[in-house]
């Protein structure tokens, strides 16, 4: 009856998650759980999933219960391999294509006009994995007692902070919790959908309180018994944190994940075993409780090569971490039939594989004039034979591209993405002639007749493919008389040169393909370490005009547009502002790119179903988590 009452309370709220009929039947839950229910050792399904579980639409079709999913981990610092698979249960989540935020733990929410107040409605009757109710108290405990406790977190985790002030979480009633910020924080929902935004749902109050001095004045005894330095260390060892190995080290800890730890991830472990959470709060379209798969088995390999061997001999069901280099792809394709797996495409969340940032604010006036000349940049872009680079360096796995949201993204901008990618060295040469950079003995010279030469900074240890690409670019440019040098340098020197504005040109993978709001460095001078075509303009932007150099009108317009887009949670308004911004970026043509950021890939066993054929690959969209592994099944 209480369930009915609660259901009435949230009537209308459950658009995404209309409570399905909870008919009693073996097929609605895993056979193992049904047996426990029959024995009276476990609560009935309807009581376990609550009145308003999240309804998940399976990728292909509803699956069968059972089986064990095998995945590999590396021996050290690979806890995020587990997080990506099971542990991204925040208040909200990303949709399958990384374009929209959907309800998750919260079944709906409201945002005020100023984007300073976010009210989340939780799911009535939802339970932790130990059967204890999950309520607004847990969220308030996690934020107010844990994240904002200076003995536990010396500074509040940055996703909860805007304008240097942490937000306040307050309980409205059992299933409603409100976050209040002192400044507009329109991206709060997007950030809460990323792994680093999981704090609100991380700590169970009924379990965590015993390790917290505010609720247990005998914590000191526990600290002494556990032989640790302070209560913070004890708390962490029991409840973990978002991305530390300890998160997967305590089988007793209540969680909201589809699977719970059975054999923990510890220093001596050779595998991690997880079994289904009987109280998991998600169901499929037929009202059957998820996950379909009984258990996860993460085997731990010390060596990446032996992980490859496990993949090609068919001993893993789903894997992408550590094996997704381009060099591995032929081996993996070759052995697909033998190992009984297929390749899954992982869409790179970046836009550009090799973004070239010509220093338009160069300290040398002659170079500043050269790089600052738009038709010079256009000529340089047109003189690159992109198809040759794609064929030789990227094995044909890409297409000519400049920058901007990737094809398929709702904000994809054709001009921004494709302009000046057509190979035409004759036209390019003519444009340089017209711009006043004639050839002398075959080499281009400055208008005053002095030698024209520049260096392109690249970090070989970080991006070996970019070095190969640049060697080809150098050859292409030599044909139109441009002389340059591929300057392979170490990471810290690369940054120092950039920070001091001492570089001629630098390359870096261009972000913003799927997450244009989270990293717009190539669309305007926004990032003091990233927008390397005009570092002084970024300083002007970041310091509100106090430092750096004043940018041109085109940049100022874009800075205003971006601030407008960032200040509103209204997606239509945001899209319009960004469209206008992209128009101006395309017109200004500041960066030159080679090809669309190359996709990675993973493998999935042929037995494993409901895995999307392609999914984003990103840390903000921690693949494969947002493709919902709880609805994968073994056919």
């Amino acid at each position: 009856m209480t369930n009915l009452g609660r259901r009435a309370f949230v009537a209308g709220a459950a658009a995404m998650s209309a409570a399905p009929a909870m008919a009693q039947g073996a097929a609605k839950e895993a056979p193992g759980l049904a047996a426990l229910v029959a024995e009276g050792k476990l609560a009935k399904l309807a009581d376990r999933v609550g009145a308003s579980p999240l309804v998940v639409v399976p990728v292909e079709k509803a699956g069968a219960y059972g089986g064990q999913l095998r995945r590999g981990l590396r021996g050290s610092a690979d806890h995020n391999g587990i997080l990506r698979m099971v542990g991204n249960q925040g208040l909200v989540r990303w949709n399958a294509t990384f374009t929209e935020v959907l309800p998750n733990v919260a079944e709906k929410w409201e945002v005020n006009e100023a984007s300073t107040e976010f009210t989340f409605h939780l799911r009535p009757g939802m339970k932790w994995s130990d059967g204890h109710p999950f309520t607004a108290d847990d969220v308030v405990f996690a934020i107010e007692d844990c994240c904002k406790n200076s003995e536990l977190y010396r500074s509040v985790p940055s996703p909860l902070v805007i304008a240097n002030k942490p937000g306040v979480a307050s309980k409205i009633n059992d299933t409603t919790v409100k976050f209040t910020f002192e400044a507009p924080y329109a991206l709060f929902l997007e950030i809460m959908a990323t792994p680093l935004g999981q704090h609100p749902t991380l700590f169970a109050k009924h379990y965590g309180a015993q390790f917290h001095p505010k609720y247990n004045n005998k914590v000191a005894d526990l600290v002494k018994a556990a032989n640790v330095s302070d209560w913070g260390a004890l708390f962490r060892s029991k409840l973990g944190d978002i991305e530390i190995p300890l998160r997967w080290g305590n089988p007793e800890k209540p969680v909201l994940d589809p699977w719970v730890v059975q054999e923990p991830y510890s220093g001596g472990a050779t595998r991690v075993l997880m079994r289904r959470n009987p109280y998991f709060w998600q169901v499929d379209t037929e009202g059957r409780q998820l996950p379909y798969i009984d258990a996860l088995n993460f085997s731990i390999s010390q060596d990446v090569e032996s992980l490859m061997l496990d993949v090609i001999s068919g001993k893993l069901d789903i894997q992408d971490r550590h094996i997704d280099t381009l060099q591995n792809k032929p081996t993996l394709s070759q052995n697909a039939a033998k190992g009984g797996y297929r390749l899954v495409e992982l869409v790179n969340s970046g836009a550009q594989q090799c973004q070239m940032y010509f220093n338009m604010m160069h300290k040398n006036p002659a170079m500043r004039a050269f790089f600052g000349n738009k038709s010079v940049r256009q000529a340089l872009s047109m003189a690159i034979d992109r198809s040759e680079i794609i064929e030789l360096v990227y094995l044909g796995q890409s297409e000519p591209y400049q920058t901007g949201p990737r094809p398929g993204h709702p904000w994809y901008h054709e001009t921004l993405a494709r302009q000046f990618t057509k190979y035409d060295k004759t036209a390019a040469g003519a444009m340089l002639d017209a711009a006043g950079y004639p050839r002398k003995n075959g080499q281009r010279v400055h208008p005053d007749g002095s030698k024209l030469f520049f260096a392109i900074d690249v970090i070989p240890t970080l991006y070996p493919d970019l070095v190969d690409t640049l060697e080809l670019v150098k050859r292409h440019w030599a044909e139109i008389g441009i002389d340059c040098k591929v300057n392979t340098i170490e990471r810290s020197l690369y940054y120092t040169r950039g920070d001091n504005n001492e570089h001629d040109c630098a390359v870096w993978p261009g972000p913003g393909g799927l997450d244009p709001m989270l990293d717009p460095r190539d669309f305007f001078a926004q990032h003091p370490q990233g927008s390397r075509y005009a570092i002084p303009w970024t300083q002007w932007y970041v310091s509100n005009g106090k430092e750096g150099e004043e940018p041109p009108e085109s940049q100022k317009q874009r800075m205003k547009l971006f601030d407008a887009a960032r200040g509103t949670a209204d997606m239509a308004k945001r899209a319009a502002a960004m469209k206008a911004l992209f128009d101006i970026t395309a017109e200004a043509f500041e960066t030159v790119g080679i090809c669309l950021a190359v996709n990675a890939f993973g493998i999935a066993s042929n037995k494993l179903r409901n895995v999307p054929v392609k999914m984003p690959s990103s840390w903000s969209w921690p693949n494969p988590g947002p493709s919902l592994p709880q609805q994968y099944y073994l056919g």
Binding site: G75, S76, A77, N80, Y153, R154, S155, V156, P157, S158, P159, P195, L196, N227, V228, G232, A233, R236, S237, D241, E243, I244, P245, L246, G249, E263, S266, G267, G268, T270, R271, N297, I300, S301, Q302, D303, E305, S306, L309, D310, I312, S313, K315, R321, H322, S617, S618, W619
Partner: protein, 317 residues
Amino acid sequence: MIPSLGVISILAFILIRLPPGDFVTNYIATLAASNEIVDQNTAAELRARFGLDQPMIVQYWRWISGIVLRGDFGFSFEWQQPVGDLIWERMGLTLVLTFTTLLMTWAIALPVGVYSAVKKYSLGDYVATFFSFLGLAVPSFLLALVLMYVAAMYFSQDVGGLFSQEYLTAPWSFWKFVDLMSHIWIAVIILAVSGTASLIRIMRANMLDELSKPYVTTARAKGLSEMTLLFRYPVRLALNPFISTIAWLLPNLVSGSVIVAIVLNLPTAGPLLLQSLMSQDMYLAGAFVLLICALTLVGTLISDVLLALVDPRIRLE
């Protein structure tokens, strides 16, 4: 011994701290390789919690005082588990593996070495020599990789690790032992190959030195049978160098065969040691280095004592 251990502990600490960065920068870089980001506030928090923001001397004092005063080796940064537990957890299997390998090496190398010395320049000698040079020349990790590939691709055999899935966490039983034996042989062979090869060469050379000495002729003239003669005199003398290598044997228990263990995915101490060094997990790595050094010192002591026992000449001096 105690003062040298003290000096070693300081050196070890400095050496582990020597590469640029610290545990936290390493941790961030490792995650960045998978495109993962650590919150800046969290990173600062970690650094403060591990005391990495303190001067080195303070860090050293925190570490060494725990060991000396309380026998507490501290917590591993990465795993937040007591260092002692982590190391001991791995020691059992490490000992089994090392001793099996050692026995196998000696069981093959000693007889073959003696044989190829006695039957110098015979067909058997050439065969033994050929294989021992081959064994010396092939890096053992490469051998491991090739064997694993062949086993996986052509025999669908699982060669990594020491146990099958079903016995991984099972309590010890007869069948678990059988399972261990069915996995351990490949590791033992790979590890034994290079050791055996060099031992054969050493044994052969030692024996050749001894065989031509006058006491052998004397013994033969006294009418001793060839076998008795061989084992009573020259072999005993030729064994001396082996005994002095026991000093290196003990530290090898911990740090030997690291690369092979990593390739074969063996749950032994080696991979843990390498991992802790690479991630600059100070307390874990420090405890390992200290342990290895202590074992070297103890090993030297043992081999000195043994040598004196075996060889009367040394006692006389």
